[in-house]
């Protein structure tokens, strides 16, 4: 009842929607970079939306299924195939025992999520199975999966459930629910506390110029390349909490967008925050990709969150019906 890693990928970790409640101890949430992909795929397979997924970077690993399983992929598109037969993202896929999951070209995005029906069998640390790479704990032995590792599933697909092992299933997530991925997205932000401390010229530059993701970016943060921004006068801040999506102005005038593995606190000026609704689009960017920012209001940012939740709820009801029918 396991998946065997027969080739190591660039960075393959277990993540759920994050470890909350421990930021006050300096333990940050970690969790899936592309939270919407993780939620959608889990709901599609009839899982709890917070079930653990495998997050893979390019080049991805090669995985042997030592059990029958039902999986779904989403987020990035790395030209996945089961026994060399191409499979589609956002659709439940039956995988029979002794099948090989391999990948080809990188078509879109930077992080591919793999969810499995019933979830992965992993002991939780502080209520979550997300991997904390820095603290070397959580997830699969606190580290990325590599060649030779065996990852067990919670549930086997019984022999009698023939329909579930068929590949692929005849339903998928509809396109309006899938994040609007792009290699040069317009990312919506809200003004941060120190937005007003930027010179007017720098505010305009932030909203008009294109920024590029620097190669020294990772799950902790995206470093942005662009012409430097300036504060009207220097701001000295004592440390306080920061979040996934906080955009900080570094002393050299460059920007960093904090991501899933960010530190819990920081003392750099917070000039803006990527709105929750656009974090998944952001998460699929990689080195060299281009970003433009669009300033929106708090009310609008909240409206976008609620709109997605409504759609996700409809999907939940639909999938509950589907998975019930299969059982």
């Amino acid at each position: 009842m396991s998946l065997l890693f027969i080739q190591t990928g660039l960075l393959t970790t277990l993540q759920d929607l994050g470890r909350t409640g421990y930021r006050q101890l300096g333990i940050n949430p970690n969790g899936a970079m592309d939270g919407r992909a993780a939620r959608l795929l889990n709901v599609l397979l009839g899982n709890n939306e917070n079930e653990g997924i495998l997050e893979m970077h390019f080049p991805p690993p090669k995985i042997l299924f030592e059990t029958d399983a039902q999986i779904a992929l989403g987020g990035a598109d790395f030209s996945a195939g089961i026994n060399s037969e191409p499979i589609e993202n956002w659709r439940p896929i039956g995988v029979s025992k002794n099948s090989l999951l391999t990948f080809g070209a990188k078509k879109e995005g930077a992080r591919l999520s793999l969810a499995v029906r019933g979830g992965f069998k992993i002991a939780k640390w502080l209520g979550s199975l997300s991997t904390n790479l820095k603290a070397k704990t959580g997830g699969f032995e606190g580290r990325a999966l590599q060649k030779g590792d065996r990852l067990y599933l919670n549930r086997e697909i019984p022999e009698s459930r023939f329909a579930m092992r068929q590949r692929p299933l005849n339903y998928k997530i509809s396109s309006h629910l899938i994040p609007n991925y792009s290699r040069s997205p317009k990312i919506r932000v809200m003004a941060g506390r120190e937005w007003q401390n930027l010179t007017t010229e720098s505010q305009n530059r932030f909203l008009r110029q294109s920024f590029f993701i620097r190669p020294d970016s990772d799950r902790m943060g995206f470093r942005l390349k662009g012409s430097p921004l300036q504060l009207g006068e220097n701001v000295e801040l004592v440390s306080s909490a920061v979040g996934f999506g906080t955009i900080q102005l570094l002393p050299d005038g460059e920007l960093i967008i904090l991501l899933a593995d960010h530190q819990t606190t920081g003392g750099y000026p917070r000039i803006a925050h990527v709105v929750a609704a656009d974090l998944s689009v952001l998460a699929q960017l990689g080195a060299g990709d281009q970003i433009n920012f669009d300033l929106i209001s708090l009310a609008e940012a909240e409206r976008l969150i609620l709109q997605f939740e409504k759609q996700l709820n409809r999907l939940k009801i639909g999938c509950r019906f589907k998975t019930y029918a299969e059982n």
Binding site: L25, G26, L126, K134, T137, V238, S239, A241, G243, T265
Partner: protein
């Protein structure tokens, strides 16, 4: 009481008491955090106390569902924060939170890579630096940066030094550092820019422990000097 409430993105807000390092202000932060720990509201994810601010992370969907009378989830949580502030003013912090933890530190040159620099810069002897560093009872103003990393203060003015202009790529776990009027302990190996004056054999963060961090915001800490031999003995016993 002067404070300011502002959104930290669309799923959190910060109550800021004035961007200062002050025990009185820090007590206010902790009292406010207490109110939410005792009476969490529907949609509260967690609170994060810092030097002079408390940040509330919340789920806007749940908050909107339970507080439909407000135009935004932010407005609803701000309202809860204002009510909590009124409650917090009259509350008393419980004694247990002021627990004193004594932390052994070895100031040998092998670990204390910036000790001589600090002594020279502040025109003190190494022994004087150690004495001044071990004298006060410090307050844990907050935990942040790394799991279990305590921000301790306030350091005697005589030891106030700036951060290194170029941070080190890897500061060893257990290193005790100075930065301005703060002192702290690297709970994990990490890049860092504080001036390193010693090392503790204690584990500040232990994921195997049910309570994974040695210290919590509000605790009291005092350092005491140990020699290299003791450092090794303690290390063997706890690691």
């Amino acid at each position: 009481m002067i404070y300011d409430i502002f959104p930290l993105g669309d799923s959190a807000l910060t109550i800021d008491f004035g961007n200062v390092i002050s025990p009185t202000i820090n007590d206010r932060v902790r009292k406010l955090a207490d109110v939410f720990s005792r009476n969490p509201f529907a949609g509260l994810v967690e609170v994060v106390p810092a030097y002079s601010s408390l940040t509330i992370f919340y789920d806007p969907v749940t908050v909107r569902q339970t507080c439909a009378e407000f135009e935004t989830a932010f407005a609803a949580v701000r309202n809860k924060a204002e009510k909590a502030l009124a409650q917090a003013i009259n509350s008393v912090l419980s004694k247990a939170e002021r627990q004193l933890t004594k932390i052994p530190v070895c100031y040998d040159a092998e670990f204390a890579i910036d000790l001589e620099f600090v002594a020279e810069k502040k025109m003190l002897t190494v022994e004087q630096v150690i004495r001044i560093h071990t004298e006060p009872v410090y307050r844990v103003f907050m935990i942040g940066f790394l799991p279990g990393f305590p921000y301790l203060g306030e350091v005697d003015e005589r030891l106030s030094v700036g951060r290194k202009s170029v941070p080190r790529a890897a500061v060893p776990q257990g290193s005790v550092g100075l930065a301005g009027r703060q002192t702290g302990i690297y709970s994990l190996e990490s890049p860092g820019g504080w001036q390193i004056v010693g090392k503790t054999p204690l584990l500040l963060f232990d994921p195997k422990n049910e309570s994974p961090t040695l210290l919590h915001a509000g605790d009291s800490v005092r350092f005491y000097e140990i020699d290299r031999k003791t450092f090794d003995e303690v290390t063997i016993n706890i690691h």
